[in-house]
């Protein structure tokens, strides 16, 4: 079971400062239960060496990218984890069904599923964090294609390296969006020294739900 925080769901629904009233909360709980019953989460990851060449290109195993923001995020990292996760097709199907009859439930399902995929990846990431910490490697916050100047053009390569299509059924549209849509890919840097928020500014950090994030 994926632990989804109510605060996150409310955040995705646009709530600032106050909590959903009981009637909205009741719908949230109902949609959450329905999603919990139907999602089929899956996650793939792979560690690769991380190097920077003279022309400023990042080499992340077999993938080469040009991105100043990711470069800052990965500053000091020797390795990088490529990670991909999905909740499967059920959230997309459920949202479409609600959209035909009930936009309230559709928008709530959208928010709950968004919070859920983040929570799922967080929990998978925590497992990896413990594992790599035992090897003396510290994890950076994950950084996804589409953040900052990291283009979505890198998506086909990430999906191919992780074989996300074959093992998780995650594919790309012509516009490079992932389907099922409740899916995430990311790079997670590994460095020998621990990471502090001061190391890199919020702008270069993928941790969107950070309490201390400066907008």
């Amino acid at each position: 079971m994926i632990e989804v925080s109510n605060r996150e769901i409310a955040r995705y629904l646009g709530y600032r400062g106050i909590s959903p009233d009981p009637r909205v909360q009741q719908v949230i709980d109902q949609v959450l239960q329905e999603l919990e019953r139907s999602v089929r989460p899956g996650c793939l990851h792979r560690m690769e060496p991380c190097t920077l060449d003279a022309s400023g290109l990042l080499h992340l195993g077999p993938i080469t990218v040009s991105s100043l923001d990711l470069k800052k995020n990965l500053d000091g990292c020797t390795h990088v984890i490529l990670i991909g996760a999905t909740l499967g097709a059920a959230p997309d199907q459920l949202i479409r069904r609600y959209e035909a009859t009930d936009m309230l439930k559709a928008s709530i399902a959208q928010a709950v599923a968004a919070a859920m995929i983040e929570a799922y990846l967080d929990s998978e990431q925590e497992k990896l964090e413990r594992m790599y910490l035992a090897q003396g490697l510290h994890m950076r916050p994950r950084f996804s294609p589409g953040y900052g100047d990291l283009s979505l053009d890198v998506q086909p390569e990430i999906l191919a390296v992780l074989q996300m299509s074959k093992h998780l059924g995650v594919t790309l549209t012509d516009g490079l969006l992932m389907i099922p849509s409740k899916s995430i890919t990311a790079f997670i840097g590994l460095a020998e020294r621990p990471y502090h928020c001061e190391t890199i500014s919020c702008q270069f950090c993928g941790k969107e739900n950070c309490l201390y994030r400066k907008e």
């Binding site: 629904l13 646009g14 709530y15 600032r16 400062g17 959903p20 009233d21 009637r23 909205v24 719908v27 089929r40 990851h45 792979r46 560690m47 690769e48 195993g61 077999p62 993938i63 499967g88 097709a89 059920a90 997309d92 199907q93 949202i95 479409r96 069904r97 959209e99 035909a100 009859t101 009930d102 936009m103 309230l104 559709a106 928008s107 709530i108 959208q110 589409g146 979505l152 390569e157 191919a160 390296v161 299509s165 074959k166 093992h167 059924g169 594919t171 790309l172 549209t173 012509d174 516009g175 490079l176 969006l177 389907i179 099922p180 849509s181």
Partner: protein, 797 residues
């Protein structure tokens, strides 16, 4: 001897994984190994030779990734050259490792790598064309069979099987990838997959990849219980895990071999492996299992199954309810919806019937003046995008039926054939080709017989005719014809006798359009529900009824509880335990004003309040003085962030309920159906996220606008056409990703050029005021409420 003949005589063994063996020879992760057929043929031939030495009877060509999406370049690395080289390499391996046994080369076909519409953006026809090209190339290169594998979406499977069948004469084997619960990515269960594949006449079916043999073992039991076709098992070498950045699989050769032996003993006819199974695994498998004596005959199964992309429904064991609401006969609103192409109304009906307890939905769009061929297909596809129930395709137009059958995702119920020679000649070939369970009406060229005896004899005739087309009796369901008792007081008895004898004498399943029984009588539900119970008692398997009718559903639940079909009456209790307390709730809303109801998002209270207001006020006064101000107040609070999206939508829903009451009233008084103006909205090309756009639509509709919603992934020209056709003064465009904003810009340019009277507002996660200015939008809506405000400013001028 063909592989199908060979299979009757002995077990066949396939090969194992290819990708990891190529990687161990230097293929980089993420790179496609299919080009090695041309660039490094020796490596491919050596690996395949190892599999032959291990005892494989079937070599799968190294073409899992070969398709035009991944090999767009022509010439050296065209799909055709890669496939020809792959088949050549497999043949060369066979030449190098001779055997007395006959062996076969399978053209390997994997998924396209894209998800089909409606979830994804690849059309069924494009998927078909991709597969067809591979099949033609493989057949030309001399493959012995087609193996469609690692499939996780029924729609893509259907495209691939049709492409294989229509572009070659080769046998077609299909293996799919289930998760541990026995579901595909898109949700389909094992029975549903089998039903569809048997309907499409695949030659052997099974599972591969995703799981190891241990996890597949319980799924195999279901597979064998339902499949009348030979079963293939190609599991991975267990479940994957990453070790030092490399994927490894968790079971050893002994465990794999032991599990596979058990599978073969249970009745698997083609065995091999997938990811992680090396030639050593296959050698151990063939060594242990080749000489096993296992029964070679496969018992044909007689389950009557229909399916959707997500589930199967079995007809015969427990009564099945077919929702009749999507059929325009006698339904004004639906007729209007079909004529105006208002799919929203139809989808709502679909979801409501599902919530009310329907197991299958009837889809009939036959209306004078409607292009039924196009409309049936389009309504069917839209309904399949919101409901996971199997559908009953209901048309008397064979061309509409063929199109619907081709594009249906799953194995449908087909309504109908009769004893008329002409309908059988037109419909049975379609059923034979695409699969489906067919409703057979007990009437023929001489008309509707008066006696049950004659009806049963027509059923026999239809069954014999179906068999001559190769359609199994399990795929027929007999309609004994419910005819109104107002014309003939004996007619119910005749129908009931036909139903009973269908079960008892023919051993077949039955169906009725139940409500026909009361045509012309008052209070029809009384007659309908009692007749329904009588029919169920006589063995009725499926009933076409209105699942929203309380008395019909009561008859259904009560019958099941009484007939021992509802263990511990659990379903009955779930349905009616709260019935006593529910009636109390309604009363409380009576004193709430319309304004309060809308502000608090109380849907039923809003409808009640509107109804009360209509007794003393003019409709327009209610709208202007209560409804719109209340909505505006909610909108203001939303803008000030004292209230949030969910409440905004709840209020919008409440306002809509009130609007609907007022509109119905105005219409009943013969008044005009006024709308405040027409607005075209769409999510731009390549963008498939449309929830934001849908929220905007909901709000605009609730402010009284006529919204033409073109959906998502809409090309600029389509948007222009709609704006021109409706002379719309406002168009809303949504985009979520930076990559799709250029399409938005292009659409704006086109609209400003060809429809200068139309203002364009834009919105979506990626947009800002600056960005909107840059692409020359007339307005940037930062949220749904802002779009409403802008619309008000345009249309209230």
């Amino acid at each position: 001897m063909s592989i199908l003949e060979t299979m009757k005589e002995r077990l066949l063994f396939t090969d194992g994984g290819m990708g990891s063996l190529l990687q161990s020879r230097g293929l980089e992760p993420g790179k496609i190994g299919d080009t090695w057929n041309i660039d490094r043929p020796e490596d491919v031939i050596e690996i395949q030779s190892e599999y032959l030495s291990a005892g494989s009877d079937i070599l799968t060509s190294n073409t899992f990734n070969t398709n035009v999406l991944k090999f767009p370049d022509e010439g050296m690395n065209s799909v055709e050259s890669v496939i020809a080289a792959a088949i050549r390499n497999a043949r060369e391996a066979m030449r190098r490792v001779p055997s007395e046994r006959e062996r076969f080369v399978a053209l390997d076909i994997g998924p396209t790598g894209k998800l089909l519409q409606p979830l994804g953006d690849l059309s069924f026809d494009d998927a078909y064309d991709i597969f067809a090209r591979n099949v033609r190339a493989g057949a030309r290169a001399g493959a012995d069979l087609v193996l469609i594998e690692t499939m996780n979406d029924t729609y893509e499977i259907k495209a691939a099987v049709l492409a294989a069948k229509e572009n070659s004469d080769l046998p077609v084997f299909v293996t799919v990838t289930f998760d541990e619960n026995g579901q595909l990515l898109t949700g389909c269960d094992i029975k549903g997959v089998i039903a569809m594949l048997e309907g499409l006449h695949a030659d052997a079916i099974g599972m591969n990849c995703g799981l190891g043999p241990v996890q597949m073992q319980p799924l195999l039991d279901t597979f064998l219980a339902y499949s009348s076709l030979p079963v293939i098992m190609n599991p991975n070498a267990g479940l994957p895990r990453t070790e030092n950045g490399v994927t490894v699989y968790d079971i050893d050769i002994d465990t794999y071999t032991r599990e596979m032996e058990q599978m073969v003993r249970k009745g698997v006819r083609v065995a091999g492996g997938c990811c992680g199974t090396t030639p050593a695994y296959i050698a151990s498998l063939t060594d242990r299992c080749r000489s096993l004596s296992t029964p070679m005959a496969i018992r044909p199964k007689d389950d009557t199954l229909v399916s959707s992309y997500a589930k199967s429904v079995e007809i015969g064991k427990d009564p099945v309810i077919i929702g009749e609401r999507i059929n325009p006969t006698g339904k004004k609103k639906l007729k209007a919806a079909l004529k105006e192409n208002d799919l929203g109304y139809i989808l709502n009906e679909a979801v409501r019937q599902q919530q009310a307890g329907a197991h299958i939905l009837d889809i009939n769009v036959g209306l004078p003046g409607i292009d039924e061929v196009h409309m049936l297909k389009s309504v069917m596809q839209e309904v399949q995008s919101v409901s996971d129930l199997p559908l009953q395709l209901d048309t008397s137009d064979p061309e509409a039926m063929e199109q619907a059958l081709r594009y249906y995702n799953g194995k449908p119920l087909i309504n109908s054939v009769s004893g008329k020679t002409e309908t059988m000649e037109k419909i049975f070939p379609l059923v034979r080709k695409y699969g489906g369970v067919v409703v057979c009406l007990c009437l023929d060229d001489a008309g509707i017989p008066q006696s049950a005896e004659e009806r049963i004899s027509i059923a026999r005739k239809v069954r014999a005719e179906a068999l001559s087309y190769g359609i199994d009796a399990k795929d027929l369901i007999i309609d004994g014809l419910a005819m109104t008792i107002s014309a003939n007081s004996q007619s119910a008895l005749t129908t009931l006798e036909t139903v009973r004898r269908t079960t008892e004498e023919l051993g077949m399943h039955s169906i009725l359009g139940v409500s026909n029984i009361s045509f012309g009588l008052p209070a029809r539900e009384n007659i309908n529900s009692h007749f329904f119970t009588m029919a169920l008692q006589n063995g009725l398997s499926a009933a076409i009824i209105n699942p929203s009718s309380e008395s019909m559903m009561t008859a259904y639940y009560a019958f099941r509880a009484l007939a021992g079909l509802d263990e511990n009456s659990m379903d009955y209790i779930r349905q009616y335990a709260d019935a006593a307390s529910a009636s109390k709730l309604k009363i409380t809303s009576s004193e709430i004003t319309l304004s309060e109801a809308i502000r608090n998002g109380l849907k039923e209270a809003a409808a009640d309040a509107a109804q009360r207001a209509l007794t003393r006020l003019e409709p327009l006064t209610i709208i202007d003085n209560d409804l719109i101000p209340a909505l505006n107040a909610v909108g203001d609070a939303f803008e000030k962030k004292t209230l949030f999206l969910p409440q905004l939508l709840m209020s919008a829903d409440a306002a809509k309920a009130a609007f609907d009451v007022i509109r119905t009233f105005v219409k009943s008084q013969g008044g005009p159906q006024e709308s405040k103006g027409t607005i075209v909205i769409a999510t731009v090309k390549d963008d498939i996220h449309d929830i934001g756009k849908n929220i905007v639509r909901t709000l605009l509709e609730n402010y009284g606008y006529n919204v033409i919603d073109l959906g998502r992934d809409v090309p600029p020209e389509t948007i222009l056409d709609a704006v021109l056709a409706h002379q719309a003064r406002l168009c809303g465009l949504s985009a979520l990703m930076t990559t799709t904003v250029p399409h938005m810009e292009e659409t704006i340019r086109l609209l400003h050029e060809k429809a200068p009277y139309c203002k364009v507002m834009v919105g979506g996660a990626v947009l800002t005021q600056d960005y909107a200015d840059e692409i020359h939008a007339d307005f940037y809506g930062k949220d749904a409420m802002a779009s409403v405000r802008y619309a008000e400013s345009i249309f209230n001028k």
